[in-house]
Symmetry: C2
Subunit: 311 residues, 2 copies
Amino acid sequence: MIDSNYKIVCLAGGVGGAKLADGLAQIVPPENLTIIVNTGDDFAHLGLTICPDLDTVLYRLAGVANEATGWGRAGESWRVMAEVARLDGPDWFRLGDLDLATHLLRTHLLGEGESLTAVTRHLCRQFNIQPTVLPMSNQPAPTMIESNGRIYPFQEWFVREQWQPPVSRIILPDDVRAPAAVSLALEQAHIVVIAPSNPFVSIDPILNVYPIREMVMDMPRAVVAVSPIVGGTAVKGPAAKMMQEMGLEVSPTAVAQHYGDLLDGFVYDQQDKGQMDDAAIPTLSTNSMMYNQVDRRQLAQNVLDFATQLL
Amino acid sequence: MIDSNYKIVCLAGGVGGAKLADGLAQIVPPENLTIIVNTGDDFAHLGLTICPDLDTVLYRLAGVANEATGWGRAGESWRVMAEVARLDGPDWFRLGDLDLATHLLRTHLLGEGESLTAVTRHLCRQFNIQPTVLPMSNQPAPTMIESNGRIYPFQEWFVREQWQPPVSRIILPDDVRAPAAVSLALEQAHIVVIAPSNPFVSIDPILNVYPIREMVMDMPRAVVAVSPIVGGTAVKGPAAKMMQEMGLEVSPTAVAQHYGDLLDGFVYDQQDKGQMDDAAIPTLSTNSMMYNQVDRRQLAQNVLDFATQLL
């Protein structure tokens, strides 16, 4: 554990966010660590409310994540989904049997009138997760993708279309507000870590929730982002492809520029060392590839050491 | 197959209804057989729309029913539900993995705007079921049970409380209407068979849907019911207990009296032979216990032969 009472907030999307959250959870006392998770790619499917990024973070922190995919549960089985497919139901979004239990329980509790924050707390308790995990909002805040004049709900673009339709615009909702617990965590945070998640469809949706961007911006302490772009491509997912389609350079520098004034420091991979020597803000070049638990812990430690120097 | 063009409608609840429906399906050409199924015990659970009687009938006609229980699927597994329980979710209504696929698909299709009739048609096609199976209504028509001044949604009384709270009143909804397909089937029917289902919570909810009772009553042809009461008790479920609590005799005669003018004939078990010799309507005493497919076919044959004589 780091020897400090610094309160840490991590903004996280799915796989990459979950990995850095796990690294942080290994070294930050749980009462000092809050993970705020993107819910922009949540959707209703087969009658269930599905929160892919929240579940990826929860399963990772619970130690039940599928190591091979980064999402879903270890030891998963697919009996229900095979039968849905046999009955000619929609099977483009694959829901494992263990994973389904989470969606059924969440949908049940939401139906009982519980907030997504309360449901997430329930799941953390059941999975014995110590840090605080919070959805960015209790309201639906769907991210939409515009491509070739058509507007896709996020998961239809991301999973069903395998993020192939070129992105011309990312549409984030207006008037979404953060739960009180999110505002409180940001108010008390000394360090905000922006995980190496997709800046456009994982982190921007979080920052879009009022007043998260405003609070991160106004905070007097350190805000540090980790680049999801390494060696000219995205470690996982569509970030690089999206940057090309939006006319951006696919580089850590472009990611840092996207976040702009929000940042007090920026962490990028050692493969790209030297690329940001002229950056206007402090940077750290280090190994950011998180293949295992030791990598995750080490990156978290390096990020926090770097951020602590900025305080 | 029976050598006739008689069109047969069967009113069915769950296990007993499904068994007689299966017997009828063995001998009636599929284009001449329509099963109208109780949906009064349908409910929303864990976000899913669950139709227990429809599923019992479908699984039986599809040949995938659990022979031991009479409900649910053969070869069922319980991985999802075990995980829901582990996460401290509600597990009083046990949903098997294969069964869940039906509920997910149904909930999905209803969410797409399909009627329950259309969803049932889709399931029949996927399960290769030839006769027509129809829900009594496309509208929600929840049966409620009043007990000790408390009102229970049906499944909470039936499954969660294991039908132990004494029944003081059965509350059926007002203003529920039958789909056009139900009215058409009744209009064309030569014979209506009321299955040996619970008269109060399986058959009455069907008759309560406008204009089913009126059409069954006004039909010039044969309406025949099969007693679910055999040897002073119910073959399955709470019918006998309910009759006692409502101050009725637990006998085939009391069942026939309950249906009253609706009936043109009544079938009861050979165990009770002689009990209805003084009945005001024609009766048939025969083996009504359906332990296997041969029993089911034989009872169906006997019921139709009896009904045909009444035409």
